[in-house]
Each structure stands twice: as C-alpha cells, then as structure tokens.
Symmetry: C2
Subunit: 232 residues, 2 copies
Amino acid sequence: MRTTDMEVVRGLPLFRSMSEQAFDDLVQAAYVQNFPAQLDLIHEGEPADFLYVVLEGRVELYTNWNGRSATMGMVSPVTTFILAAVLKDAVCLMSARTCERCKLLLIPAANVRAAFHRDEAFSHAIIIELADCYRTVVKAHKNLKLRSGVERLANKLLHYHTVQGGTGRIVLPYDKKLLASMLAMTPENLSRAFNTLKPYGVEVNGAEITFTDLKGLETLAKPNPRIDDRQV
Amino acid sequence: MRTTDMEVVRGLPLFRSMSEQAFDDLVQAAYVQNFPAQLDLIHEGEPADFLYVVLEGRVELYTNWNGRSATMGMVSPVTTFILAAVLKDAVCLMSARTCERCKLLLIPAANVRAAFHRDEAFSHAIIIELADCYRTVVKAHKNLKLRSGVERLANKLLHYHTVQGGTGRIVLPYDKKLLASMLAMTPENLSRAFNTLKPYGVEVNGAEITFTDLKGLETLAKPNPRIDDRQV
DNA sequence: CCGAGGGCTTGATAAACATCAAGAGGACGA
DNA sequence: TCGTCCTCTTGATGTTTATCAAGCCCTCGG
C-alpha cells in the first residue's frame, strides 16, 4: 500500500485511535486492489471474508429477492463497508459492485476480529462506527417510509446543495439512472419528479441543476436533521 | 429491582459477560418502573437519557414527519432499546411508547458509557449487540423495498407459524391494527391482504389463523433467511 | 456521413396502496 | 337493557408508482 493511502486509512475515525502495533498488524495482512467498473465484489449470502475500504471510486450496495433488485446505499471514498458481517463472522446481507473503476483496501476479516479483541481503543472506535452505521440505516428507513418519491428527491437535491457550497447551483454526482435507484424509484419516475419540482424553481439541464426558489423548495421538502443529516 | 428481574437482565447476551463489579455499578444506578399503556416514553429528537430494558409488556418504536407516522419496530421482553443513541450520546431517531402496561428497567446513559470504557468484555458484547441491531434494520429495509404488502404479510404469518411450533395454526400476538402498522400498511389493506391469501389456504377467524396449504403459501411468500430470520 | 446503442424523457396503461364512507359485530359501562 | 365505542371489514374512489412502448438526442465507431 502506498504511504499516502495508508495515512488516509489511518486517519479514519475507525482506525485513528488504535495502537501503532495493532494498525501495523492489520495493514500487513491487508492488500490494495484495483477493480474495473461494474464488477461484483460481494454476493449476499456469502461469508464476509474481508473488511473493505473504498480508497477511490464508488461502490453500490444492493440486494435481490425473487427477481427484484434494490439499491441499499452508495459507498464513497474513504469509507469502510460490511463491518457488521465481518465482526459477527456472518454472511453478508447485501451484495456489492463497483460503479466505476475502484481502488479498494481488503483487510482479512479474521485479522479485524483479532484486532478488536487485542486493542481496546479499536473496539471503542468500532462501537461508534457501528452506532453510526445503525443510525444511517434507520434514517434511510424513515426516508422511505415517511416520504413520497418527489419528497425524497427534493431533500436529496437540498442535501447536494448544502454539500456543494450552497451557490444555488449543483451538479449531480451520479447519472440519473443511479440516482433513481438510490431514491428507490424508476428512471421514468425520477424524470417526472423533476417535472413536478419545476414549479418550485428547480431547473434541470443535464446533470446541472439550478434553484430559483430555495425557500419554496424547502417548504415542500421539509428537510429534517434526523432523516437527512449525516452527523446526527 | 427484584432478584428474578436482575437475573434475567444479567442473562442477556449484552450483560452476560461483563464483570460482577461493572454489572453491579450499572444496576445500582438503574431503576425499575411501571408504565401504563399508550404512554410516550421517548420523543425523537430528545437526548437519550437512559438505556431501556423491557422486562414486561411491549413497546412500539415509531417515527413522525410532516404529519405522517410510521412504526419502526416492536420491542418484546426481554430486550434493550435505543442503545446506539445512548452510546453516541446523541438524540433519539425514533420515538417510543408502551403498547400495554409495561415494566421497564432504566439505566442512566452516562453509566452505560462509563461501563463500556471500564469493562472490556462489556464493550465486546456491545459490538455484537450493535451489529445485530444494524442487521435487523437492514433486513427490515429489504423487506420493505423488495416485497409487496401481501408478500410481507405471508412471510410474517410463516414466521409466526415457525415460532409458535408449526402446528398449522397460529394466534396473532397483536391486534390487527398494530400488525398492519408493523407491516407498513393500513388496516383496510391488511384486511384485503388476508382475503388475497385465502386461495393459499389461509383461514382467518379473529386472531386465530389456520393454514391448509403451507406449501402453496411458501411458494407465494418465498421466505429468505437474510430477510426473515432473526439469527442470520 | 451513416447507423447503432445508450441515456433520458414522455405518454398510455396497469398495479399497488391510501383514503373516505359505511356498516357489522363485540365489549363495556351507565 | 340500551347506547356507545372500538375493531374489523367491505366498497368506491383517488393517488402514487411501476411497466410498457415509443421517440429524442447524444456519442461513438465504422
């Protein structure tokens, strides 16, 4: 692993507080690998052999049942995924595939489990990380249960607007097909939802969106920190 | 706290492995309280002051947004709830209310946080508990995203059938109004969903349900351990 | 320059689900 | 005993969302 990659990983809240020794052990056993776009990394139902860390590119978590498919989440750099399955030594509940070319760090599951038994600071960091994961899924669940498709889109747009500096103009970070599946809707309905938001000052131009009536949009969206904010 | 209550709590996976000392400290600070039915215990958005343990009765976790309401889960004895918020010292993401008369153990949040910093076995138990919580919500999310209302009902019935001994006959543990909100549907649609299942050998008689074509029902329901099983 | 394919949009149609209204039946207290 | 309340069910209707089909536009390779 390149030194810069290692420093970035070391800087994550999950690894920041663990001992030098324990971190070195973990990194020794791990390896970095590049994957092409659209490659299946994990199939749900299989054991979790590695804790993954996304260094570059984006990974989609999804799930299947009875011929249907649903996107469960997107993982951006620099974040870990399938931590819970690794810790429990259980099968994965979700599948994962690369959206684009990705650079990933793979840490063998057994080493992660050994590390948290040996390093107390690490196990405390895991507790916070797992609590965050849990709360993230609860928020996603609330988003889906309480809001219509249009409302989910409106809040997602406001979220991007905040993240991208609040200039009244954003660029969608994904193509609309992927955005649709993140919002649990079909591409057709995403298109219609954008039309529904037109009277609220949402102007679409390819991946570029401008807002001419932010207050109106917020009145519709009614953003809520306990659904929309990462850090709550 | 009565001795028998204390023994039951001590026997939970979350508390089983912690030291005598640490458990005593926790219990000293805690207190048992009885609550009437339909009482609000927690409002989402408020700080998590206590870790709750349900000793008797059932508690509903729910959430509100923009005038709408959704049931997020039911807590049965003997189980804890709002662990994640307590550990993070964060606001609750869900509200909680008693369904019936309840006996609860309330452990002050600060004591829980102190305990996991002091007792390593406890922090390991917390990790497993949080991983379980996480995976439970992921399963609930999959259930909602991938299945129709009728399919969710069919799987819930099969689940009860297994839990209640597989005799071809079950008794619903909740009234149908609550069952409906657990299945994320209206009472009207639950009633219609039961009718849809009639051709699959599901006979309803108040809270008592008999199955005359389990194979047919399973063909429709397509139960999946990674959605329906508690222990996966 | 053309043609193929993919992303995106739009319209028509159908399925799933919620809402509103009404009524049957049972529990309970006056 | 009666009336009231509540649960549950059923029908009619409207909303939301998915599906199917078609077409536009852009890119890319020949």
